[in-house]
Amino acid sequence: MLSQWIENQVLLGAAQAAITLLAALLVMVLTIRLNLGLKKDILIGLGRGLVQIVGVGFLLTIIFSADLWVSLPIILAMITAAGFITVQRIKAIPNALWISLAGITAGAGSVILIMTLLGVIRQDLTSVIPIGSMMVYGAMNANTLMLERFFSELASHAGQVEAGLALGASPEQVVVPYARRAVTAALIPRINGLQSLGIVWIPGAMSGMLLSGENPAYAGFYQFVVSGSIFVTVGITVLISIVLVRKQVFSPAEQLLIRSEEKA
């Protein structure tokens, strides 16, 4: 209906965004009524989300025909932002920023690079940046989930961890069950995603290809490539991060540095 009234595509998008914003604000009003304390987070989320994604849209319009290497600083900026966003949630873990940057760079960076060099991701900016962003986003979420879960597992099992240390076990040995749970928690959404692909949801990449008239069978294969690559990214990210974070929660004398309620 809107498209009948507004011819300019950018203005049409702004009008559609305004309607979506209105619906989201209604949800915010509901959360205020229910005293959920989410008002600030929702407002920041909506504001940042709108400005950031429209900003990238304009940026892509400008650099549309630029060389492929331009995607490198953009992807690096995305990885850096992902590292900082992760740290906001996990302030208690020492060096969480460096761990996250290392994990996300190793996971997302390597997969984007290899897939682009192999030509699995089309070698142009309009493919590398959006598909790369999906990988960075997946890596960021999995990394945050993993670190948060690992920290809370250690804090709530500090007694068992210290019992293990007191029995002469190494930090690496005592954290095994908690590291396993944290990695599992981070991978499960991705495994669920793969299992439900096409049955429960048709993700954005395939939807976009179908809307632009690509062969549906090819779109299916390509969606699997994207989803599978995100799984590989997430796997590498959380495995690198867990190896790095294990050392951070213990002192050089192998003392648990996290102070739980029972220890305090």
Binding site: E162, A163, G164, L165, L167, E254
Partner: protein, 236 residues
Amino acid sequence: MSENYVSKNSSNSHPFLCVENLGYQIDEIKLLSDISFEISAGERVAIFGPSGAGKSTLIRLLNRLDEPSDGTVYLEGQDYRQIPPRKLRRRLGMVMQQPNLFPGTVGENIRFGPQAQGKLLEDEKIEALLSSVDLEGFADREVSKLSGGEAQRVNLARTLANQPEVLLLDEPTSSLDQDSRQEVEQTIMAILQSRGVTCILVSHDRDQVQRLSDRVLLLEDGRLKADGSTREILNA
């Protein structure tokens, strides 16, 4: 920083355990200050005092689960910071207030310490350890099915599996009901008598201190107020 205790004493007859000016503070709050004492091999010493005196903090420092802010501990003349932490913790076996057993069977828990150093504890040895804490035949039992007293005795056997030279007991019966408390205390007494192991017990229970120790270190407000025989200190 970590000189050898022997080098400071010309005599070779250094004490088994020597705590020297030990202090611990966290967030500017001093929890322990200037604690010094010596313990000979085979002694049974209680760290006694009101709650909040710093007893558990002191025993955690002895196991090096926390790092002293001041001073150090010498084990047979060697600064304990020179001993690899895992090796030190096997020598000074700690039994915590809560059993903190790992999910799984009793046998798996008892195997844990030796397994951490790559040794497999045979079933007969597990049974012998369980027998020493009056839990014969419990090896295959799930720890979630144990009573509080049984869990604490498994905890004791798990520590003994490492064959420690010193037993550090941190309020080992305070989380238990009266009956279980008696059971565990009797088990501890039997182990101390049969093994002659050096023991440092933290307790705020005057009667328990009387039954289990020969010597008392009285702690108040993070300072060592008195050090003497159990009778002398408790009757003062």
